[in-house]
């Protein structure tokens, strides 16, 4: 069987987390997020960030983005995002499906700049065009890059000045926080955004994302909105218990550090082999370019995604996870070395 570098949600879940559920299987708890575990989780996030965050536990990332954005916007209001943004490319139109246009800009290495936000605002001036109202960024981004603290701060300042919301898609927020390039923690993420989510699905949890809302207007009647959009979980407390474990002893950071470390090993190998790859910001996604026949050979033993297929060469994506076997990273580099030497 092939070893998979396809994604970071391919392994069931960190056994430490599953054990918590197993050990309290018969315990009785209130439903729908009104339980003591969701409350404890909220308190914990508030204590960590010193911000008055509300927590809502949702089952999946696209759903989280869709529900938060639909709460923030009326149908004549729009999202600003880079064109590689998950909401723009990989959500099968979920944002538009719930009524909202996405205004896209090019971005720099997957990251949005304040200048681009200003350009979009300048173009939207009358009632025949949408009102840009929410800035969407992902951190780490869809290209594996990481925002610097100053960059997030600058976007947030601009949003506050212009009356926009700043929302951070944190499907891989732990990967960003665990990156050696991250000059911030959850404190700054909470401080410089109106809402964000800490992804569990890609961080060793069975399922679930923790949506954290700071802006008071976005909190209003959120439970009603969540239920209306199909996002309310009867057993919300199961996700709460998993996230409580994730925050304990920084398990979320440790899960991410492991994945990032595996990626660093892979990149070190690639660089020695002079394989072209996109900028590596020490997170768990690597985008590299190989000749198609090399990819076929590598694909015999390893599973991964062809990100951008070409006629002669293609870009593939390798993703490491909390569960990746470090030894397999080294084995892959060894195998790739052989493939490349054979071919040259």
């Amino acid at each position: 069987m092939k070893y998979s570098f396809r994604n970071d949600y391919g392994e069931i879940g960190n056994p430490e987390i599953i054990k918590v559920l197993y050990d309290s299987a018969y315990e009785q708890t209130l439903g729908y997020g009104f339980d003591q575990y969701t409350q404890a989780l909220e308190q914990k996030f508030r204590k960590i960030t010193k911000e008055n965050l509300n927590v809502y536990l949702v089952s999946a990332g696209t759903q989280t983005n869709m529900i938060l954005i639909d709460k923030a916007l009326r149908n004549y209001e729009a999202v600003i995002a880079v064109d590689t943004g998950h909401v723009n490319v990989h959500e099968t139109g979920a944002i538009e499906g719930s009524g909202h246009k996405i205004l896209t800009v090019k971005g720099v290495e997957g990251k949005l700049t304040p200048e681009e936000v200003l350009e979009v605002l300048a173009k939207h001036s009358d009632c025949h065009m949408v009102i840009p109202k929410l800035v969407y960024i992902s951190n780490s981004t869809e290209l594996g890059t990481v925002y610097r603290c100053e960059e997030i701060k600058a976007l947030y300042r601009l949003c506050q000045e212009k009356g926009l919301y700043l929302y951070i898609d944190g499907a891989r927020l732990a990967a960003a926080l665990a990156s050696t390039l991250a000059d911030y923690t959850l404190v700054e993420i909470a401080k410089y955004s109106d809402a964000f989510y800490l992804g569990g699905t890609k961080n060793g949890v069975l399922y679930g994302e923790a949506l954290l809302i700071k802006h008071e207007k976005l909190k209003e009647q959120f439970h009603y909105h969540l239920k209306n959009k199909g996002g309310m979980l009867a057993k919300s407390y199961v996700v709460a218990k998993m996230f409580l474990r994730l925050l304990e002893e920084d398990l979320y950071l440790n899960n991410a550090r492991h994945a990032n470390r595996c990626a660093d090993i892979l990149v070190a190998g690639l660089e020695q082999l002079k394989v072209t790859h996109l900028p590596h910001n020490h997170t768990n996604q690597i985008f590299l370019t190989l000749k198609n026949e090399e990819i076929s050979l590598l694909n015999k033993d390893y599973d991964f995604e062809i990100w951008s297929p070409g006629e002669k060469e293609s870009m593939i994506r390798l993703v490491t996870s909390w569960a990746t076997d470090i030894a397999m990273c080294e084995t892959l580099i060894g195998d790739l070395t052989k493939i490349l030497h054979q071919k040259m």
Copy 2:
């Protein structure tokens, strides 16, 4: 601490099911429902029912209803349901929120009749009114009652004749199948409907519902639709593994039989005490009426829902689950006996 008869999703999950996940925590699997476990589950459902069902794993009941109904209907088409139906009362407008009117009728003991469907059809005759297109029933119903095989068959026949879909909300389908009144199995449920779901959340699974679609038109591009509505789970295979365990050795039926047996014990006690209650169809929901001061006394040691509050007396709901302690049912009846005798 109080013992809870509040609902059947208040305990984390059957340890047998959690164990499956724990034991394969590091196993690598494909995402989004394209994995071997989802395939195996689909095969299993097809084998059991002899119908060409497609299976889609969704995280919650309201979401499942919303997504299936939105797939089946255009905005000018409507649902027919009894006014006590979950889609009508307890989904915070999720069906209307995704664009569809619900046409309600009174029903009989929570169940829809073919005559009522015909009445709705007769009233909707021109393009200034919606087109009734999908019949929604729950089994077991929101009042704990159970359809008989002939009743479902009659509704399905009528739907086929009139070009309507019949969709069965199976949040508590296992409770219905395990009822002594059920003269059918999953075979007939699949045979006499266009789509239904087998609820996991209320049957000992950590989370998740198995939506089963038979009608070919509803299957078309369903993965796209699921993603667009925020319902696609990256780790769909986790739910698949839990449902595979649920189907093994009829665990879903055994979970439900246990809950129903607990309810039978409670009802037997209530009848001896001559407490008024709604018709008991041997499922796990009991609706009984007590004086408000009796309710207060009972509420000291037991948690439950006040279903329909009144000035002097109120209707409360007791729900048993796969995890209910049989001894606690007997204790509750004992305590209620004392309360009633003191009061009289």
Copy 3:
């Protein structure tokens, strides 16, 4: 050819109004409602009502209801209406199609009572149910009845107390204002509502309704919302010019008075003939019951709607308009007299 009592939008338009357009056919005007005529109309409505109303000109009644309600409500918020309400029965699900549940009550002669509003509020108490947020009434109603000033005032007071919007569907508002039962004018309509519309389509205008918004929150970014819903008219000024004429010399009231007077003639005749009819509030809709063979005979020379068909007898609707020929009302009564005498 048959003479039509089918509806009040069956004749093209009052020639006085068309003449205004003909006489200024080449005049150049700004588009989209930012012109001097829309401004003049707004000033005129403000002067008449002493309220700070904004005016928006929309092409049709269902569209007006849909757009105003969708501005007022989020998807988890709902409308309260009588079950005979136009939004509930005759808009092909437009309100639900734009995301909002309608909670219906029985009403009294087509009118909503404060008690019914309170009953709906009492039932909606947690986040699993929608939040009732807008009260919808029609005046005159779908049954031709008219609210009294105290009734509207009581509903408005209740709405203000409970944080609800009161919206009046005025498709036939002129008919209500012109009724001898109306103890109010546009002043009170504006004073005791958050928004209403004065219907043009049923009052001799070529097309168009004047939506008048008083509540500041509903006015916010309304032009954006209007455009987003497809309701903005490039030549909004054409409707403005027609409504300016309608307000001149009380043409809207005179149009309605004529229609109501025709209806009074018909009702007087029906009463002499002892024909059963719904309560007549001196507006332009009459609902009467005849034997089916009588209806067939009457239908030879007159066009009208069979409102509620029965096996032996049916209820039909006669509608008079600004253009109805008074002589034809008398002729109809004469013909009906013959039909009834022949049959008896």
Copy 4:
């Protein structure tokens, strides 16, 4: 007062058309598009085009686009359009507001190419991305250009091959048909598209667009859909009567020819003055670039839109209409000559 070259919907309407309404003001007709005039119009369009077109009369262009597109697509399906397309820029998110993503490409002079359609298709390959399903083009385009017959045919052939709909926004279709570059008539427009509309608002009609649907699947239950979206007009027959007059003696072409001729006069003048302008395809929109101080001077006597403002020079748009005074075109060129000579 300034003379306006701001748009082609700034004058009330062709008196020939208004006269038709005036002369039949009291005539009685059936509502909602089920009348003899709508039927006659449909027959006329079928006779002209030899295609089995259905006609639906809608009040405005954005509404027409929104309603047709929402009929054609599910929420996970998308539109392909050039980024200057009206649906993308100037409809305040109406298409996304009703649930559909627009995938944009650059286009060539405002026109979409088959190569661009193929590129979009190639990028959309799995269920995490929308399904491109409808190709949207405008003719004449938002930049005043005109498709050649071969270009439309090539797009239609491609759409048929790939299972896409081709929809033509004809807000200014008459301008295209009247252009000296148009090597086709309504016959080819109908032949090489699945649906299109012939715009009335910009062609001298008081209001209204004639949506013409050829594809059988798009016709299904269209009246229900139209009503559900708020697009059904009670007095649809008023629009029908105006369009019947428009088709009589080729009034729609004559109206457009007049506008195009006025534009030709303006462009001839601009070229003599060596003023930079976008390619002129002999339709009624002209985009020219002037220094900002020149624009200010011209703006004293003429009203027009600043299309693309710059620091030193800006692009302005001049639009001519069915009602434009030819003499004023010559006067404008005279005045511009003086302005440019003064400045140089």
